[in-house]
Structure formats: C-alpha cells, structure tokens
C-alpha cells in the first residue's frame, strides 16, 4: 500500500510518500523551492503553503516514481498549529481523498513527532519514554503502544527550543539561534559559569523561562555594552549544559519510576549534538535502547505525518472528511493521547 502525507502546521510545507515500510520521498519546501515557484515569500504564510503544496506533491510523486492514482491513503496534519497554515494542507488532503476516493487520515502533529523514531532502521521498543523537544513544545511522555500515550510532564512556560532561540538573540545570533548556540558552545571548554535549573511542582514538568531570564541578567550585569567572543562561547556552553541537564534529570527520574524498554528523543532540539550524546550516555547507564531520529526527521517533516497516518490506518481508524483543523494541543477529539497522567 502507498501512503501520502502532508505537513503544513507552521513554517514548513512538506510532502512524503511511504510504500509499505519504505520512505520513497520526504520533501520539505525550502526557500530555494519558494523562489523557484513565485519569488520570495515570507516564511510564515498560509499563502506560501498554498503556492508550494501542489508543485511539491508533483515533485514527490516524481521522486517516488509513482502516479497519483497509486496512492491508497492520504494523511495530513490537523493540528496543533496555525489555523490558516493547517487548513491549506488539510483541505488539500481532503480534496485529494475525495477526488481519488481514498481514505483520509487527520494526524496530530505531536503524535507525528512522538513516533518519528520509527522512521529509523533501529526502532524504539514499547513501552518507550518519549521526549518531544522543539521550538513550540516540550513534552515528556510514556508511550505504551501506538495508541496508548500518557503525558508525564510538559513545559510550564517556554519550550526548550524557544529558550535556545531567545538566548541566541541575547548573544546577537540570528534567529533561529539554536544551531548557532551549539556551534558557539563547541568552541568553549570547561567553565565555572553555571545557570540554575528550575524546580517545578510536578516533578516531570519543565520550565525554561527562569533560565532565559538568568542568562539575560548575567549578560546585563557583566557585559552591559558588548560581550567578548570567548564570553559568548562560555555563556552558550553553560546555557546548553543547563538545558541538557534539565532534560536528562527529568528523564532519569522517569526511567526509575516507570517500566520502559527504550528512550526516544524527538523534535528539532533532538538534533543538538550535546543533547544527543547525553541521552546516549543515559541509555547506556540504564541499559535502555536510545532512538534519536536523524536531523531530517527531527524538524517538521511529512515523513512522520505519513507514518503516523499509516499506523492509525493499520490500527483500523477511519475518519470522515468533516474532521477539522485544531489550533491548540488541548482542543482535539481524535487524538489518542491521554492527557491525564
């Protein structure tokens, strides 16, 4: 069977095709792609999704070397995300479903991330401890099967990726600052400088707003005018350590408390080398398999949406075309995440 998936929840437009267990195409529209089809378009734009989605599908079909009539199931991200952006991909998928007379599966973007480790050759084993870390989300989950997801904790303020971007801004790095912080941190060796890790009421929750503020105070108090490059690197290093320690310590607590067989860290921040290495070490310590998707599956992509659509389809879930887009993580109905612990 051939599965098509579409992602358009935020900045990225993406189309993927999976045949049985083989990923035939996973295209994420780049700025270059945008300029090929109608000039420079703002990154964040429903119109950009609209202009790009049809040529992107054509290119994906070409890469997969199939015709549109061979597609058996069509999935698209239904939420959470920007409503205008979501509606482009979702409506496009519904239109295809109607015209091809093939089932349509609305997919939760977060669920896409959660199971993105299954896109790798070495797959997670249930029950898995799952950490979703991206620009918009920080969630710690216990995943017992494809349909049993329990939330252990979440951020009570900023997402981990957002903290990276905002500290990047404080260090005068261009948005998004995340990858550049990692680069800077690499040029610093050991440092005395440390930033505090916030305590939270729920032991599995995260908080990064205080860390962000303490980096800001450190900069204001010590470098009111300009930060020397070596100090920038030192701050980046200490900040990255603080985020890594926060993520690791919550996960370690969860490993001790719950029966799990594997750990999977997913989302854009999972591409951070330091975080990756720390989790591999953590896995070794507790003898748990660690699966971190390769970078192309960490950022927003349609491959994970297609895979999740495939899982739901194979589990027998069917949806009507009246399923709507939902902007917020809490306001959806078909999501199998049990948001209570």
């Amino acid at each position: 069977m051939i599965f098509l998936g579409i992602e358009s929840s935020c900045d990225e437009t993406s189309v993927a095709i999976i045949s049985d267990n083989i990923l035939l195409a996973n295209l994420v529209a780049s700025q270059q792609f945008h300029s090929n089809y109608g000039g420079v378009i703002p990154e964040l734009s429903s119109r950009a999704h609209l202009q790009i989605i049809s040529p992107l599908l054509k290119q994906a079909l070409q890469e997969a070397n199939i015709s549109i009539n061979q597609i058996d199931v069509i999935s698209a991200t239904a939420g959470p995300g920007l409503i205008g952006a979501l509606l482009v991909g979702l409506s496009f998928a519904k239109g295809l479903s109607l015209s091809l007379n093939k089932p349509f599966i609305p997919v939760n973007h977060i669920e896409g991330h959660i199971f993105s480790g299954f896109l790798m050759d070495e797959k997670p084993i249930f029950p898995m401890l799952n950490l979703v870390v991206s620009g918009g989300h920080t969630l710690l989950l216990l995943v017992k099967s494809e349909t049993e997801i329990y939330k252990l904790g979440t951020t009570i303020d900023d997402a981990a990726g957002e903290a990276f971007d905002k500290v990047g801004k404080m260090l005068n790095l261009e948005y998004p600052g995340g990858p550049k912080i990692q680069f800077l941190a690499n040029s610093s060796s050991k440092t005395e400088l440390t930033f505090p890790i916030a305590k939270t009421k729920n032991e599995f929750d995260f908080s990064f707003s205080g860390l962000k503020t303490s980096v800001l105070r450190h900069i204001q108090n010590n470098f009111p005018n300009q930060i020397p490059d070596d100090k920038k690197a030192e701050i980046a290093f200490a900040f990255q350590e603080a985020v890594t320690n926060a993520l690791i310590s919550k996960c370690e607590k969860a490993i001790k408390q719950f029966e799990i067989n594997s750990i999977s860290v997913v989302g854009g921040v999972a591409a951070n080398q330091r975080i990756k290495e720390s989790f591999i070490k953590l896995g070794k310590k507790y003898d748990k398999k660690v699966v971190i998707p390769s970078p192309e599956f960490c950022g927003d992509n349609a491959a994970m949406i297609t895979l999740r659509g495939k899982q739901l389809f194979e589990k027998g879930f069917r949806f009507s075309l009246s399923e709507n887009a939902f902007p917020s993580i809490h306001s959806n109905h078909f999501l199998r995440i049990n948001y209570e612990k």
Binding site: S46, R47, K166, Y175, S209, L216
Partner: protein
C-alpha cells in the same frame, strides 16, 4: 485613559495585578503587553488566565498564536519572530482581533504598531534596578 500602577516585589504582587486586569476583561477586549525579553509578559498572561479558569498557558513565540478555551475564549499572540507585516495578514490577524467573543493578548505588539490600532488595555512591565513595576492603562 485610566492608569493603574502596581509595584512588584513578589510573584504575589504580579498575581494581584493580573487579577485586577482579569476582573475587568470582557469578550472582545484586546490587551497589549510591553516589556523587555524576560520581563514576565507570558507569566502575566498565565496569571490572568488562571482567573479565567485556564491553567495551561505557554509561550506563543514559536506558534505565533495560542488559543485557550478559558471561561472566555482567549487568543495569545507573540509577534517576536514575525519578520514583516504581511505574515500577520497571512495568518488572518484581523479575523482573530475582530472576534467579539474572545479576548486577545499580544506580546511584542510594538514591533508592528500599525496592525493593532484599537486596543483596550496596555500592560507595561518595567524593570529598573531590580524594581519591577506593572502599569496597566485602560483606554476608553
């Protein structure tokens, strides 16, 4: 214009200022929040929403807008990573702000002053020499 000034020396004081605003808010209101990075804009909105019986406020920086099913529906915007005004038009900003059944909170609205002409409240969070002050201005 009415002005209300709250001197803040603890989290409790912030809660009081937030409670004051929450009691006055009605559907259709637009609230702008000004203050530097890390001044506590998102925290303030979180506290306001608590009084509207909603406890899951998080930062909208990445998502641009969060929607909350509180006692009154709320939109929580952050213009921080918006690069130009067209992006805001593209996400349908005018439709959100024209929703007479919802309250809109906007962080970093000052980046695009022409987008929000009419607003009901301006919340200014100031931090001078470790002294925090929240100024709430109510417009007629």
């Amino acid at each position: 214009m009415d002005e209300f000034i709250f001197e803040i020396s603890s989290e409790d004081d912030t809660c009081k200022a937030a409670q004051f605003l929450a009691k006055n808010l009605k559907p259709g209101d637009i609230v702008l929040l000004n203050g530097n990075l890390g001044s506590g804009k998102t925290f303030f909105v979180k506290e306001v929403l608590k009084y509207l019986n909603y406890n899951d406020v998080t930062s909208p920086t990445f998502s641009i807008v969060n929607e909350y099913d509180a006692d009154i529906k709320c939109y929580h915007f952050d213009f921080y990573r918006i690069k130009n005004e067209m992006e805001l038009h593209d996400i349908g900003i005018s439709d959100y702000l024209a929703d007479s059944e919802a309250i809109s909170f906007i962080e970093w609205a000052e980046m695009f002053p022409s987008i929000v002409n009419n607003y009901n409240y301006l919340v200014q969070i100031q931090l001078n020499n470790e002294q925090r002050m929240i100024i709430i201005r109510k417009y007629k």
